[in-house]
């Protein structure tokens, strides 16, 4: 067994194991952390296929940002495991149907590729220049409009998500940062001159 196939089997075992643990672990935080491990090993497998840009951006975007926010929410929520497990048998049949269709599609796609097409070969240009450069060049020249459109759609999705969840409370107290920064001595401090009180006079009165 070469080192490459050894590491492939190692990473895929970890990947499948952690993916299973995402589904089966009872604790939602453990599930989210297993998902992080799954992403990380998937990135390692992509790195072995010399897709270094995809691998690094998977870690940067999903592990570094998306899953952090995910964990954040999971930790803050008070999840009742027993209530989530209710109705398990009702959901089982639709779940099996959906995942069966999904599996069939994958099998058709992969076996079709294997039968009708030659296996993909990494072209010499990509290995020489590194695919970060190649991807960047293609994205910003040939596929520029598609790329920009995708960015705009994502932006619209962000604005929509915020607009849907934004609630304005009437009793909310807001500090205005510009007021705070423009505050100066004159607006906060007043020096008044008072006549000096005589201690003895006060005692007498």
């Amino acid at each position: 067994m070469t080192f490459e196939s050894f590491s492939f089997y190692l990473f895929s075992t970890i990947l499948v194991g952690s993916a299973l643990s995402v589904i089966f672990s009872r604790n939602p935080v453990h599930a989210a952390l297993s998902l992080v491990l799954a992403f990380f090993t998937a990135a390692a497998i992509w790195l072995m296929l010399e897709a270094e840009f995809l691998a690094i951006s998977l870690i940067l975007v999903y592990v570094g940002a998306v899953m952090v926010l995910f964990l954040f929410v999971v930790m803050m929520l008070d999840i009742n495991i027993n209530r989530m497990r209710e109705g398990y048998w009702n959901y089982l049949l639709p779940a099996i149907v959906v995942s069966g269709i999904f599996l069939a599609e994958l099998i058709v796609l992969i076996s079709g590729r294997m039968v009708f097409e030659k296996p993909l070969e990494i072209s010499a240009q990509i290995t020489n220049e590194g695919n970060t450069l190649q991807l960047g060049r293609l994205l910003y020249t040939e596929y520029l409009y598609a790329f920009e459109l995708a960015a705009v759609i994502l932006l619209v999705a962000i604005v929509a998500a915020i607009a849907l969840t934004l609630r304005r409370r009437k009793d909310m107290k807001v500090v205005s940062s510009s007021d705070q920064s423009s505050a100066n001595r004159a607006s906060r401090l007043k020096i008044v001159s008072m006549p000096v009180e005589n201690g003895r006079e006060r005692e007498e009165s």
């Binding site: 270094e52 954040f72 930790m75 970060t132």
Partner: protein, 341 residues
């Protein structure tokens, strides 16, 4: 040369493996020593700023103080809270140390002195350092303590916010140099005019944004709300003691050195000498890193802690717009070729 010498005795692949291992150790041991002396430097610098002497009892002028601290921490008991998740509680410090050390793999120290000279070096650094937040979050959750959880939440939100500004600042750097390889980034800052061709000058606002974001990323004062000893005791590591605490400490200082090293490589010309005629070399890089590290200590002694909403405002509403404007500006300058150098 050394690989050839070794392969005569133990075979090619083993020789390559052991030579790489030696190179890894040649980076990690000095980094760890730097961390040890950075803690001493911090106490000394802050001491002098506050008109005190700082530690001066262990060894000559207190020079052995870090070793005394390490020994003390290593011999202390590790207390695991009864309601804690034991596995995650122990794994969390390792999760925070791993990225801080792994990022050094692509750091060039001088021309050709690099462990892994990969083309996507800058992306690798960004990806690896973005994982550091897990140590903090997992520690906060696994401790099963209110203060720890609040600290973890604060730190998570803060790191995610400042990572974006930091990323944009670095995008400006890679636009200037046209490469993600750290050695190339330093080489493109080379010219006959010394420090005038460093990225510092055209990208000065980005340098400021990058460094302040770096201070926020490492949870250092004035952005240390994750620890916030006056409000949430010690934040995410309140339940940690002994070696596990020492590992968090090590990770924080290793991250500081990393941020300082990246700032010197990307904005201050790395190992290039500031004055033409004086030879380049590792000494310049070391000096620049030390200079940047001094700022970390200076900030801590000078500024009071930011309020949490001010941190979020600075990250999202000030830094990100500033970086985007500068990004567009650099793009226009490059397109129009209005480039004085």
């Amino acid at each position: 040369m050394i690989v050839e010498f070794l392969s005569a005795y133990i075979g090619d692949s083993l020789a390559y493996f052991s030579w790489t291992l030696m190179k890894v150790l040649m980076i990690l041991i000095p980094v760890t020593l730097c961390v040890a002396y950075l803690t001493l430097a911090e106490r000394k610098v802050i001491g002098y700023i506050q008109l005190r002497l700082g530690p001066n009892r262990v060894g000559p002028k207190g020079l052995l103080q870090p070793f005394a601290d390490v020994l003390k921490l290593l011999t202390k008991e590790i207390i695991i809270p009864s309601g804690a998740n034991k596995f995650l509680f122990v794994v969390a410090p390792m999760l925070s140390l791993m990225p801080a050390l792994a990022a050094w793999a692509v750091m060039p120290f001088a021309d050709g002195w690099v462990l892994a000279n990969i083309d996507a070096g800058l992306l690798y650094v960004l990806a690896i350092t973005s994982m550091g937040v897990y140590g903090v979050i997992v520690a906060g959750w696994a401790s099963n303590s209110k203060y720890a959880l609040i600290g973890a939440m604060r730190s998570g939100a803060q790191i995610v916010a400042y990572e974006i500004a930091m990323g944009f600042a670095l995008v400006c750097v890679l636009m200037m140099s046209g490469s993600l390889n750290l050695t190339t980034i330093v080489d493109t800052q080379r010219s006959d005019f010394g420090f005038l061709s460093w990225n510092l000058i055209p990208l000065f606002p980005m340098f400021v944004v990058y460094f302040i974001s770096g201070v926020a990323e490492t949870n250092r004062a004035p952005f240390d709300v994750a620890e916030g000893e006056s409000e949430i005791v010690a934040g995410f590591h309140v339940e940690y003691s002994g070696t596990t605490f020492a590992v968090f400490f090590l990770a924080e200082y290793a991250n500081m050195i990393l941020i300082a090293a990246l700032a010197s490589l990307m904005f201050l010309g790395g190992w290039l000498s500031p004055i033409p005629g004086i030879p380049d070399g590792f000494a310049w890089l070391a000096g620049k890193i030390a200079f940047m590290l001094f700022f970390f200590l200076w900030f801590r002694a000078t500024f009071p802690r930011y309020r949490y909403d001010q941190i979020m405002r600075l990250g999202w509403k000030v830094f990100i717009p500033v970086t985007i404007v500068w990004l567009v500006l650099i793009g226009i300058l490059m397109r129009m070729e209005w480039w004085p150098w």
